[in-house]
Each structure stands twice: as structure tokens, then as C-alpha cells.
């Protein structure tokens, strides 16, 4: 029995968690002090989310001890953890779409009198919290369904703050946030730590960890490969090698000096009410066109419209000279492929094995006379899994048991199979770890080398600039700048997207 330092509020030792067939945590150590930002680093599938779910009372550890405020604890359910002062923002947004913002924030601990909810008080309290979060304009009675992703993340955060927490766990909160929102998030975190509240922060973006973190614990294959490293000073090379066991620099593959190919996609004056206006763009074979912009600037809607999943109000889309008439099936037949933004709701069959998810668009082509060929599907999926370093590398496993980042790889991998001529990627690296990210970039480049055109949306400006050949900057549904990637710097882009940035939801609340 060691005497804990007074300021250590949480100590995990030798925590083990088994899932059928996988040991997700295999003797993890963690120590969190009051008022610090403790970062968790690790590849996709390293066990970060599992670890915090053990802390939050969602999973029970199979072995090991958890000490909270000096007492050994084992939370039986999430409520117990919350009562003890641990609040969690989960990686998958766990909100109830058909309830209002305020109801979501206070779900499970509603302000009430004799069992009657007090909607007015809930709304007022929600507004107070939202103001603290810098978003007083979000109407607390608006249905969560109607909010953009960033708004939903905000609600998750408000929910965590609505508890009297001593420790707040944030599992990749920045994944769905754009640049300015991340800055806002950091302001809030500093606020919290100033009050002595500890934060466990998970992210795949090293620069964020440098900026906000105090200490870092690195997980690898369910084990702690490094504890309590100083967040600002530990060299990147060290961190990456502790995570991956390899040396990977966060680099983009070089742009090849090849001629760009024939014109594939041509979009002219495309508009949809209240979403985007007069967008024109061209994508050639062998080139990557990136679209930068803030969350809510209408990029996802644009991509979905091009792909035929939404119907344009005006404008035209042609692929290889032939007009596309708004249906996904025709778009796919014309050689388009899209990895949508929300993997769980838009892309994955959670009950199905990985290979069936990967071949979702190609199984008909692999089939002969309408009969599917499972062997070939598995072989081809396995090749993609190798290419993307899927972890664990078993394509017959149910995709629901994969970690978030690995699920994303499956979605992207889907379009690496079959004869896609133009690939539309909406936030393809959201939640993907550094190592796999580099692989993914490599793969995208390889595809362009084979003549495929890529249309890419990312909220990470460096990614757009580093990967794309040409960049479009969108603001409030309009393209405000179009240039070769080399002619733009990160600051240019940020200036463009922020310039006179009107917060649309703020306008509504007025």
C-alpha cells in the first residue's frame, strides 16, 4: 500500500480488460493529478476508449486496481462514476437525437420537483453552461437532430460540465471540431484546470497535445508503453515510436511531377437552398482537390449532392463528359465513390464482418451470375487491410468490435476496391492515428498515380494543404478562393475561412 501524493486523484495499476477474443487492456498504468491535463496517446485500437470506459463505469475491469481520491473503487455503472465526480465525453456522440439540447445535457439528472421536470430551469442552466462554453447562441430547446456535428459535440461537452466533476474525460473531442472550435475548447479546458479539475484528453493530433497537455501516457496494444512524459518537451519521434514501435514522421507523400489526366468531374453553378450556392469545380484524373472550410460551411452537403445522395436545386454535374442524374446508383456506375462523414450512421453495417463492409459497393461486381464469391471478397479485403494496417488484421471479425479509427479505415478501404475513378473523401482521417494516417495518405497518392481523381474535404487545414494539389476554400456555402496548394499557407486559409465569420446559428438565435 503506497501512500499517494496528495495531488494524485486517480491511479490505475495493472488494469486488464478482456473482450471475447481480444485483450483490449493488458496491464495499464495511469496516474492523474488534480488540475492537470493528462493526455492519452496510442494507435487506433490501442485501448484508449476501453480504458476510459473502465473509468466511467461502462466496463468492469477484469483485473487490476483503480484508486479514486485515494480509495480503491470499482464503479458498477456509469451513474456510480458520475456520482463520484468523473464525467465523460465519449468518442461516439451519445446523444438522443429526438430530444432537445437541454434535455440531453441534463439527461439522467434533470432539474425536477416531485418527479416533474422543470424545463425552464433546465433551459436556463443549459444556457449558462453553453455561455461558459462560448456558445450562448445555441437554443436549448432546439432538437439535437437539427444540430451540426460540432453542435452535438458541444452538447456532449455541456453534459459533462453539468455534473459536479473532479475529473473530466474527453475522448477525441476535437475530431469533429474545426480550427476555431478547437481553440475555444482549449480555452474551456484551461478554465477547468484553473479550478483544480483534472482532464484526461485523448487526441491523435500531436500539436494539440503539445498545446494543451501537461503529461502524456502512451498506450500500445493494451499496455502502457510510457507514463507521465512531459507533454511539451518530449520529442515527436519518441512519442511516435512509443506508440507504433516504428519511426514515422507526420509527413505527406511528395507531389509527383506528372501531368494531370483527363477531366473527370465537372460541377457548374451547383446550388441547394440554405446549404451552398453557385459552386463550380473540376477534378481531373490523377489530381487531389481539397476543400477547406469551417464546420458547417456546407462541404458535406456539397459532396453528397455531387454523389447523388441529395438533389441539387440548380446547376449541373458531369462525369467524364456525361451528365449525372442525381442518384447514387448512377454515380457509382459512372465511377464515383464516397466515404461519408459519419461512419456509424452512414457507412457501416455494424453487425457484419469487416470484409462485407469493405466489399459493400463491389460485391455485385465480384459476384458471378448474381452469386457472391466470399473467398475472393475476403482475399481482396485482406489486401486492403494490409495496405491500411487494419488492427486487428482479421477481416472476418465483426466491424462493431473495431476501434473507432479502424472502423474509419474500413470505410475508406471500401473504395480502394473496384474501379473507382473519382473518390470523394469526407473527413477521411477523422479519428485515424498518425501511423495509419501516413499510410492512408500514401494510399491516396498511389491511387492518383493510377489516374484516380480525389475530391477531399478535411477540417484540418494542414492536411488539405499538404495532400491536395488544388485547394478550394469554402465559407458559408460559397467558394471564396481557389488556388494551387503551393500558393496558400495555413494562415492564408485560416484568414479566409474566418474573415467576417458570421455564426449562422447565432444569427438565428437573435
Amino acid at each position: 500500500m503506497t501512500t499517494t501524493e496528495p495531488d494524485v486523484i486517480l491511479r490505475l495499476s495493472n488494469v486488464v480488460k478482456d473482450f471475447p477474443g481480444v485483450r483490449a487492456l493488458d496491464g495499464v498504468e495511469l496516474e492523474v493529478r488534480a488540475g492537470e491535463v493528462h493526455c492519452l496517446l496510442g494507435q487506433n485500437g490501442a485501448g484508449k476508449s476501453t480504458l476510459i470506459k473502465v473509468l466511467a463505469g461502462v466496463h468492469k475491469a477484469d483485473a487490476g486496481t483503480v484508486e479514486w481520491l485515494g480509495e480503491p473503487v470499482s464503479f458498477a455503472n456509469p451513474q456510480a462514476a458520475m456520482k463520484a465526480g468523473i464525467a465523460t465525453i465519449y468518442q461516439e456522440l451519445d446523444l438522443v437525437d429526438d430530444m432537445s439540447v437541454a434535455e440531453n445535457v441534463f439527461l439522467g439528472h434533470e432539474p425536477r420537483k416531485f418527479g416533474f421536470v422543470l424545463p425552464g430551469q433546465a433551459a436556463r442552466n443549459t444556457t449558462t453552461i453553453l455561455r461558459r462554453l462560448g456558445h450562448a447562441e445555441v437554443p436549448p430547446r432546439r432538437l439535437v437532430r437539427a444540430l451540426p456535428n460540432a453542435g452535438k459535440q458541444l452538447v456532449s461537452m455541456a453534459r459533462a460540465l453539468s455534473h459536479e466533476a473532479k475529473l473530466i474525460i474527453m475522448d477525441e473531442p476535437s475530431a469533429v471540431l474545426a480550427h476555431d472550435e478547437v481553440a475555444n475548447l482549449f480555452r474551456i479546458i484551461r478554465d477547468l484546470t484553473a479550478q483544480g479539475i483534472a482532464v484526461v484528453y485523448i487526441s491523435h493530433r500531436l500539436e494539440e497535445i503539445r498545446e494543451i497537455g501537461d503529461r502524456v501516457t502512451v498506450l500500445r496494444d493494451g499496455q502502457t508503453s510510457a507514463v507521465n512524459l512531459p507533454a511539451r518537451t518530449t520529442p515527436t519521434r519518441d512519442l511516435v515510436s512509443r506508440m507504433t514501435g516504428r519511426n514515422i514522421e507526420y509527413v505527406f507523400p511528395p507531389r509527383p511531377e506528372t501531368e494531370r489526366g483527363e477531366l473527370l468531374l465537372e460541377v457548374e453553378n451547383l446550388s441547394r437552398d440554405n446549404e451552398f450556392h453557385d459552386v463550380s469545380l473540376k477534378v481531373h484524373g490523377g489530381e487531389i482537390v481539397g476543400i477547406a472550410g469551417l464546420v458547417g460551411s456546407g462541404r458535406s452537403e456539397l459532396l453528397e449532392t455531387i454523389f447523388g445522395a441529395r438533389r441539387a436545386d440548380s446547376g449541373s454535374i458531369t462525369m467524364s463528359g456525361k451528365p449525372l442524374r442525381g442518384s447514387v446508383a448512377t454515380a457509382v456506375r459512372a465511377g464515383l465513390g464516397m466515404a461519408p462523414e459519419e461512419r456509424k450512421s452512414q457507412a457501416l453495417l455494424l453487425g457484419e464482418p469487416v470484409y462485407r463492409n469493405m466489399t459493400l459497393t463491389t460485391f455485385s461486381r465480384i459476384a458471378r451470375f448474381g452469386f457472391t464469391d466470399a473467398d475472393r471478397e475476403q482475399r481482396e479485403s485482406m489486401a486492403v487491410a494490409d495496405q491500411l494496417e487494419l488492427r486487428p488484421r482479421d477481416v472476418r471479425r465483426s466491424v462493431s468490435t473495431l476501434s473507432g479509427g479502424n472502423q474509419q479505415k474500413v470505410v475508406v478501404g471500401r473504395w480502394l476496391l473496384g474501379g473507382t475513378k473519382l473518390l470523394i473523401l469526407d473527413e477521411p482521417t477523422r479519428g485515424v492515428d498518425i501511423g495509419a494516417r501516413a499510410e492512408l495518405y500514401q494510399v491516396i497518392r498511389q491511387l492518383t498515380a493510377q489516374g484516380v481523381g480525389v475530391l477531399l474535404v478535411s477540417s484540418e487545414v494542414p492536411e488539405v494543404l499538404g495532400l491536395a494539389d488544388r485547394v478550394l476554400v469554402m465559407r458559408e456555402g460559397r467558394v471564396v478562393r481557389q488556388a494551387d496548394a503551393g500558393q496558400l499557407t495555413e494562415d492564408d486559409v485560416l484568414d479566409l475561412v474566418m474573415a467576417g465569420s458570421l455564426d449562422t446559428s447565432g444569427e438565428e438565435a437573435a
Binding site: 466511467a56 439522467g108 430547446r141 438533389r311 438565428e508
Partner: protein, 334 residues
């Protein structure tokens, strides 16, 4: 835009249910119009129209009460196929000679207790035994009808209690008592769903069970209570039916489960859970009762009735959808 600033405590619901309900009310008006065309003599008489409306509401009363409970169960992500059987069981149990000897109070008490307990059994099987709701309540359907047949010896049991028998024909302020019971249950249901933690948690569990669990809601206990609530409604409905028929039997309330589910869905409740309104369900019940009433007035043969009814159901749902989608959108969406 202004809607957001003028938030009264009753205004925080989304507008979509309202529009759906308007669609259904349109259907009701259309049914009335058809009646007026077929039988101008009757519909021309205001007194008759008022009486007939009360008759429709009275016929909607028992199934309406059940539908309120069903609405909660469906919003909470479940389904209850046993409601008809529970009504029969509660009705038969409360009209046994032994129970009747305790008078109206004893009968009402028995019906409600039987309903709640059977509902609890459903709830325990589903929440703690982790049976699929469809199967658990189907098993209860079969078993409860069997038990009701056993208790009643397959005889129709006549109620001799004057209070119970008189209930159905009594009126308060010109409104039939059973209609008042329905209004009371519906009102309580509305408050429960929209103004209490119980209701909000029901929506949360049906909308996203995992999220509800992570938010610290005791999903299992709550699920169990939902089925008990449905059982309670069945107990109340059993008394109402006994009063209407001055008797009870094991075959009573047959296929009420389908009627109640259909009314809830037509009223805008999502079968997959997480969304629904008590008001919508009630209007759904009234629409079905009005259709039946109109058929009786038009004196259609049963087989034609059924064919037309199928058409009306489809039409009613299409009308609801047209309320907020243009025809063009309807046809062109991929």
C-alpha cells in the same frame, strides 16, 4: 426565428407532430364530409351529430386507454402484443363470483392489480430476462388468454354490479363517463410523457438506449416499469369493457394489440422508438373509431368495409406525409 424566443413551457416540442396531427384531423374532416354526403338526413341534425360524436368517442375509450400505454412502450423502444389478452384476463378475473362479492371497488382493484402484475411479468422477462419484447409479450398473449379461459371456464361472466354496469351508460355534464376516463388517462399520459423525468427517460431509452445507459439511467428498471404501465392501462380498459358489455370473457378484446399499435403509429409514433405523442395516438384511435362508425352508418357489407378500410388507412398516412413534403419531392427522392 421568433419561435425560438417565444418559448413558453408548452412550446418546446418540435412542430412535426403537430403537422402530422393536422393531417389526421384533415382525414377526420374528410370522413365527416363523406358521411354528410351519404346520409344528409342524419348529418343535417346537429343533435344527432353531437350524439354520434359521443358514441364515437365512447367506442374509442377503452382502446384509447390501451393505446396510451402502448404509446409509452413503443416510444421506449418496445412493443406489447399482450394488451388484448391482458384486458381479457383482468376482465375475467374481476368478474369471477368471488371478486364480484367485494363490489365495484374490489372488481376495479382486481382488474388493475392483475393488469399491473401481468405487465410486470412482461417487463421482467424483457428487461432482466433479456427476451425480445415481441416474443415475451407474444408468450404472455397466449398464456394470458389460456389463463382467462381457465378462470372463466370459457363462459361469458356477467357482471351483477350496478355501479360497474351503470358506468358505461352514465354521463357527467353530458359527457359519457368512459370518455371522461379516457380524457383523464390521456391527460395524465401527456403530463407523464412531457413533464416528468419518467417520460423524458422513456424517450431517451427509445431514442438511444446506449446513450441513456451512459447518462446513468437505469434502463432495465425503466423498461420494466413501461410494461407495468401498459398493464395498468389494460386493467383500466378491462373495467371499461366490462362496463360496456356488462360482462367479460376470455375472448374479449381480440386483436386490440394490432389496433393499438396501428393507432399509435398512424398518430406519428416511431415503431423503432424514441418519438411519439399521446395526442397523436389518441387522434389515431379516433380515426379508426370514426371509420367503423361511418361504415355502420353507410351500412356497407363487412367485406366491402374491409376493402375500403385498407384504402382509408393508406390514404390517411399518405395525407400526413403530403402535409410536409411536396408531391414532387415525394416522387423524385432517390
Amino acid at each position: 426565428m421568433t419561435a425560438l424566443t417565444t418559448t413558453g413551457w408548452w412550446r418546446d416540442e418540435s412542430r412535426e407532430p403537430l403537422r402530422r396531427n393536422l393531417g389526421l384531423i384533415g382525414v377526420l374532416v374528410a370522413l365527416f364530409g363523406i358521411g354528410a354526403i351519404i346520409r344528409p338526413d342524419l348529418y343535417g341534425d346537429p343533435q344527432w351529430v353531437v350524439d354520434n360524436t359521443l358514441v364515437i368517442l365512447q367506442q374509442a375509450a377503452a382502446i384509447g386507454v390501451v393505446t396510451v400505454g402502448m404509446t409509452f412502450v413503443i416510444i421506449g423502444g418496445g412493443i406489447d402484443l399482450s394488451v388484448g389478452a391482458l384486458i381479457a384476463l383482468a376482465g375475467v378475473w374481476s368478474t369471477t363470483v368471488a371478486t364480484q362479492s367485494f363490489g365495484a371497488g374490489g372488481m376495479i382493484f382486481t382488474a388493475i392489480i392483475v393488469g399491473v402484475l401481468a405487465g410486470l411479468v412482461n417487463g421482467v422477462l424483457i428487461a432482466y430476462g433479456r427476451l425480445v419484447p415481441f416474443i415475451a409479450t407474444l408468450a404472455m398473449l397466449v398464456a394470458a388468454r389460456g389463463l382467462a379461459a381457465q378462470i372463466s371456464g370459457k363462459q361469458t361472466q356477467v357482471s351483477n354490479d350496478q355501479f360497474i354496469n351503470g358506468l358505461a351508460s352514465s354521463k357527467v355534464l353530458g359527457i359519457p363517463s368512459l370518455v371522461l376516463v379516457l380524457l383523464a388517462v390521456a391527460g395524465l399520459g401527456w403530463v407523464l410523457l412531457n413533464r416528468t423525468t419518467f417520460g423524458r427517460r422513456t424517450v431517451a431509452i427509445g431514442g438511444n438506449q446506449e446513450a441513456a445507459r451512459l447518462a446513468g439511467i437505469n434502463v432495465r428498471r425503466h423498461t420494466m416499469l413501461l410494461y407495468a404501465l401498459s398493464g395498468l392501462c389494460c386493467g383500466i380498459a378491462a373495467i371499461m369493457l366490462t362496463s360496456l358489455a356488462t360482462s367479460s370473457q376470455a375472448a374479449a378484446a381480440e386483436l386490440y394489440e394490432l389496433d393499438a399499435i396501428a393507432a399509435a403509429i398512424i398518430g406519428g409514433t416511431l415503431l423503432s422508438g424514441g418519438r411519439g405523442t399521446v395526442t397523436g395516438s389518441l387522434i389515431g384511435v379516433v380515426v379508426f373509431a370514426t371509420i367503423t362508425n361511418l361504415f355502420a352508418i353507410a351500412n356497407l357489407p363487412t367485406e366491402v368495409q374491409n376493402m375500403v378500410k385498407g384504402g382509408i388507412i393508406v390514404f390517411a398516412v399518405l395525407v400526413q406525409q403530403l402535409k410536409f413534403k411536396s408531391v414532387k419531392q415525394l416522387l423524385t427522392r432517390t
